[in-house]
């Protein structure tokens, strides 16, 4: 279990307990948090679950695969700390994680 803070583009914060094994994307979608669309349901096929990982958490969330990087390359408003949240698996090590959503996923 990890407590994850999702921050919408407008600043609205949602703190959610997410089960280990789920993705950061699933934690948002299953709790109806706006800002993460995840159209493909986590197949790394659509880049609509783009988030910015807070600086302190970049190492712990790992590095994106080549597939994820290529998808992110063409997402809007990409930053060095951009990730696809369907590719970040939740574990105890991510307790306290903070991610921010972009203005739009489309």
């Amino acid at each position: 279990m990890a407590k994850i803070t999702y921050i919408e583009h407008n600043g609205a914060e949602h703190v959610i307990e997410v089960k280990n094994g789920l993705s950061v994307m699933e934690g948002a979608v299953k709790n109806n948090i706006p800002g993460i669309d995840a159209d493909c349901g986590g197949a790394c096929a659509c880049a609509t679950c783009h988030v910015y990982v807070a600086e302190a958490w970049r190492d712990k969330t790992g590095t994106p695969s080549a597939m994820e990087e290529s998808m992110l390359d063409f997402a809007e408003n990409v930053e060095p700390n951009s990730r696809l949240s369907c590719q970040i698996k939740v574990s105890d090590a991510l307790d306290g994680l903070v991610v921010t959503m972009p203005e739009s996923q489309h």
Binding site: L22, E26, V29, K30, N31, N32, P34, D37, D39, C40, G41, G42, A43, C44, A45, C46, A47, M67, S70, M71, D73, F74, A75, H106
Partner: protein, 410 residues
């Protein structure tokens, strides 16, 4: 029995489209009632994994759910499951259900989806002859796959190929039987068709192309083989029929709404009745980029129209039109598709099919109309933007893999 529920939004069909529309209405601030009626006994779930990750056992049933069951009560969405809508009385604005209830609506969203087409041939009712559309279908299919089990797939479309790949992953012997001369004849072109045929063959899938199916043979009520037009019988323990969809537009048709192989809607998912919307697989919808009406069978379509309907109902600006897209997972291949090849004059291949990393672009002049990408996410992402922009590109640069897609799109 009439329930006076304040006449809010009633959504008929609790699939990906209906479930998303309900959640979006609340997310967009809709305060009226929302009633979501579904024929299946479980809350809205994702169908794509049923032939992919779920079938292979890589994800569990829980992860299929669009939202946890507790979400609906928490969001004030009245979920009525295992119940079928029988008829719509548009003048009274009511929907009759098969449990005897009648629901009033101010706004009705039809999200009745589609069902798998069946084959009207002898033996179609044998045990072991199945379709793949619902979670229940997928459970049945999964139970019949395993080491040494023989699966015959009728129809070389994406559902059939995904099931073939998943079946191989579970150790089953798989043969794909296709009526046309090539698999994917209805939806793709060379070199993708040859590439996928070879890829599946190399992983143990057998193909019978240009083969008609005359009958299913059985013993003791269970299927034992597929009899082909040339008289041969392909022995099997299970048959998956994947030969396309039939749109569930009967409810709309009987209510007098215009239907043309699906419920006709405008770019806001509205039908001709201002109180009735239709979304997802059941619709026949405008395709602004291609200047025509068409029907789509995809999650992307379900989501786009759910957004259109929810936005129209709460009075938000309509979302921008999207370039339609879809995906498929087979073995270690990530296939991604964007656009539709309407009016395309020729194709351009970028990358190397032999390396299982390439994209096929369908062009009209120098404008990309659609694409199929195999393990080529940059081609998919950039190509999708270019399709939407309708901007001419340099064919020489597009064909040259040493020029990045960023530069092609620049």
């Amino acid at each position: 029995m009439m329930i006076d529920d304040g006449a809010g939004v009633v959504i008929v069909g609790a699939g990906h489209a209906g479930g998303t529309a309900a959640a979006l209405l609340r997310q967009y601030g809709w305060e009226g009632t929302i009633t979501l009626v579904g024929e299946e006994p479980i809350p809205p779930y994702q169908r794509p994994p049923l032939s992919k990750a779920w079938l292979k056992g890589e994800t569990d049933a829980d992860s299929l759910m669009l939202k946890p069951e507790s979400f609906y009560a928490g969001a004030g969405i009245d979920l009525i499951l295992g119940v079928r809508a029988l008829s719509i009385a548009r003048s009274a604005r009511t929907v009759s259900l098969d449990d005897g209830r009648t629901l009033s609506y101010e706004t009705l969203i039809l999200a009745t989806g589609a069902r798998a087409r069946t084959l009207p041939i002898p033996g179609a009712d044998l045990l072991g002859v199945m379709s793949l559309r619902s979670a229940a279908d997928a459970e049945t299919l999964k139970a019949s796959l395993g080491p040494g089990r023989r699966l015959a797939v009728i129809g070389g479309g994406y559902i059939g190929l995904e099931a073939a790949a998943s079946g191989r992953a579970l150790g089953a012997d798989v043969v794909v039987i296709e009526r046309e001369a090539s698999i994917l004849a209805r939806v793709a072109r060379e070199p993708l068709c040859s590439f996928l045929t070879s890829y599946h063959r190399a992983r143990g899938v057998a193909f019978e192309v240009g083969a008609t199916v005359e009958a299913f043979e059985g013993e003791g009520g269970h299927v034992t083989g597929v009899r082909l037009g040339d008289g041969r019988v392909i022995g099997c323990d299970a048959v998956l029929v994947g030969v396309g969809l039939v749109r569930n537009d009967e409810l709309a048709r009987e209510a007098g709404l215009e239907c043309v192989n699906g419920v006709v809607v405008d770019g806001h998912a509205r039908t001709g009745d201002a109180h009735v919307f239709a979304i997802g697989d059941v619709t026949h919808r405008p395709m602004p980029l291609y200047d025509r009406m068409f029907w789509l069978e995809s999650v992307a379509n379900a989501l786009e129209q759910a957004k259109q309907a929810a936005a129209a109902i709460v009075g938000r600006p309509s979302p921008p039109h999207e370039v339609t897209w879809n995906w498929s997972d087979q073995y270690d291949l990530k296939l991604q598709f964007a656009g539709l090849p309407f009016d395309a004059e020729d194709i351009l291949v970028r990358g190397d099919p032999a390396a299982a990393k390439f994209a096929v672009f369908h062009l009209k002049g120098d404008v990309i109309r659609s694409l199929e990408a195999v393990n080529a996410p940059a081609e998919f992402m950039a190509g999708r933007l270019l399709i939407g922009a309708e901007r001419p590109i340099s064919r020489a640069r597009l064909a040259d893999s040493s020029v990045s897609m960023k530069e092609v799109a620049a």
